[in-house]
Symmetry: C2
Subunit: 407 residues, 2 copies
């Protein structure tokens, strides 16, 4: 059971979360609870680090920032003890959660189960583990990057072969789209790992992408649910293997990403290696290129279009100018359109259903929405459109695929 | 160098403290810096623990409460790095600071120097250690009791054979008495361990008593100084071995303790073992008995008087009533006088100077201050007086022994 920052924001909320743990213990389960820092705490600590040092030593960042989870873990253990549940707190190094040395963005390498197993055998019913943190081979404290407690939770579920991994958050599950945009958005009972992965990376901020990857790799059944609603065994959304989902819509959900920019290099020499010459420097400059489209070549020259987050436009322009100055690429102009958004439909059902793309394009066309760029994967179709049409597009596609109805 | 909570209360103060560290590094010293939590932080954490659980698991208390020092240690290391000083933070378990398992009040058992020595050999100039904490043989986090960072500092000074242990606090040294009570109070350049120990235990809250005991045992030269004044090599007060002090007044200082109560058991049977029958139960009830006086016996009965802090009077009365009910002691009445205070003169010079007690009693008599109870040790004379005369008594004794003048 993993409780995010808003679910442990104060002592009352910690008690509320502990009550949910108590229900699972009463059913006979031993429980590993992963806790985040009380909401706001991590931001406060990060703020102090940034104010102290602009180019900080990530090892010290980790030492400071990890302290928020330690506080919650101790308080949660005490709260459970007050309910007569044998519980104790575990900091990352005590488990130990062994990670790489990539401070501030470490990856979990192993979670030896011996220490917790010994205490479970001695009567401990709940291990409260500080999320988001681990220990490097050098014995320094590491953190897993923002949202890393989700990854901690999935990694523990995998290491201890847990029956389930429940992620308590401030939303009550995964929706067919953002309910703030479409009032017809419907909570999904189940969603496949692959779909969740596409939705997570498309900006549906329910789960950290890495946690979903990990869950898929180790087939950990993830349940996303709210700590603010009545607990029940069927609450929330189960993220699971495709095979567990008997019936599903062809399209599972409509995702969007608001702050996209479309960049076009006009009249680039169309020669072998040109893509590498363009996207190598962009990658080195830290630009996250998403969609790429190359126009048909004419007279040995072509236009190359790509998308990236709007706050990386300047960086992209600088990288391209440098490459031009160095003579590794040659182009006439670089045009940036910063008023675009990305809308995507996602669903494992697309693998076996043809015509989803055509249906999507028709629906957008009916509303007069022009498509600027298209990309597709096996289970996803994304389009870049004018940002002002984004909400309309989401609503239109939600209607077109009848996502308000369960399969 | 140890910096208390007010000396690291915010990022500005941490920078100020780091500046003092920089001066020592510039002189060529390798430095171990011990930091407390930012002032207020530990109280906040303790408050949360108390609110969560009235009879809390001290192991979880320690896990929660120790986090404040970890934050300061990381921020201090970052601040020093910003000054181009190779520094890193160390949490108790990383050093490791090995302690007993007496959670919330653990004692340091050993500080193996290998880990820090290795990093010093590799170029680290400053080790910033989180004070107040350690690790038990079971691998749980321990804390040393309030004010424990002083003890951490002295223990490191002893373990690493430091040239000096500088305790930075919000006062600029040890005074002949509390300057708030006597405007003539004078800062001492030097004070002997034994004197400091008596002053600390008498309520002069400059240093934790245990830290002074430890400094005396390992002959660690302690310097108490303010982090808010200009740094200089002769600032503050040096707490050191008697032999280092060439000249000193017979009386080093006048201490006081305001919230004392005088308890008298009227008409107790004067028989062998009666003292054990009285003070055994008081000790078990957690009453800190300080002074004890037994009247001359008459007809096989006597009066027994003792002092304790006022907030332990109810506990003492209950313990005595229980002992009476159980028949282990018999007394006519228990009279509590909660309006008394203790005033003491302390000085190693008393060992070789007779007449200090007489001089003290004469001075109090001249002001019409009645002495209720007297106790003496080799280097201290304490009297219990009416609380309303406490300040007058302190001023009178400071004048009588001419403490405003250096030896």
């Amino acid at each position: 059971m993993k409780f995010g920052g808003t679910s442990v924001a104060n002592l009352d909320r910690i008690r509320n979360a502990a009550e949910r743990v108590r229900l699972e213990v009463a059913k006979g389960y031993d429980v590993i609870v992963i806790v985040s820092a009380m909401s706001g705490k991590t931001n406060e600590l990060v703020g102090w680090v940034n104010e102290t040092s602009a180019f900080y030593d990530a090892r010290e960042y980790d030492a400071v920032v990890s302290s928020g989870e330690n506080v919650t873990a101790g308080l949660m253990a005490l709260t459970l003890q007050e309910m007569d549940i044998p519980a104790r707190s575990w900091q990352g190094w005590q488990v130990p959660v062994q990670t790489t040395s990539a401070h501030a963005n470490a990856r979990i390498e192993a979670i030896p189960s011996a220490n917790l197993d010994e205490k479970f055998a001695q009567g401990m019913r709940v291990a409260v583990v500080a999320g988001f943190q681990g220990v490097s081979p050098e014995g320094r404290i590491t953190t897993l990057g923002r949202g890393g407690s989700d990854t901690t939770a999935v990694a523990f579920a995998a290491a201890f072969d847990a029956e389930r991994c429940d992620i308590y958050t401030d939303v009550d599950g995964v929706y067919t789209t953002d309910p703030r945009i479409s009032s017809k958005a419907r909570k999904l009972d189940k969603i496949a790992f692959e779909e969740m992965l596409e939705l997570a990376s498309l900006g549906a901020k329910v789960l950290q992408t890495r946690s979903v990857e990990l869950a898929m790799r180790f087939n950990v059944r993830l349940r996303v649910l709210s700590s603010f609603e009545d607990p029940s065994d069927t609450a929330g959304t189960l993220v699971c293997a495709e095979e567990e989902i008997m019936e599903s819509n062809v399209v599972a959900g409509v995702a969007y990403s608001r702050d996209e920019a479309k960049m076009t290099l006009i009249s680039v020499a169309d020669r072998p290696g040109i893509a590498a010459a363009i996207f190598g420097p962009l990658s080195e400059a830290g630009v996250n290129v998403d969609m790429i489209v190359q126009n048909i070549s004419e007279d040995g020259r072509t236009d190359m279009t790509f998308s990236c987050p709007t706050d990386q436009v300047l960086r992209a322009e600088k990288a391209m100018q440098t490459a031009k100055d160095e003579g590794t690429i040659n182009y006439h102009d670089l045009v940036a359109d910063e008023a675009v958004a990305k809308v995507s439909v996602v669903g494992i059902g697309m693998r076996s259903h043809a015509g989803v793309a055509a249906q999507m394009f028709r629906a957008l066309h009916r509303e007069g929405i022009n498509i600027k760029v298209i990309t597709t994967s096996e289970i996803k179709i994304s389009v870049l459109i004018e940002r002002k049409y984004m909400e309309l597009a989401v609503q239109t596609l939600h209607d077109a695929f009848e996502l308000e109805k369960a399969a």
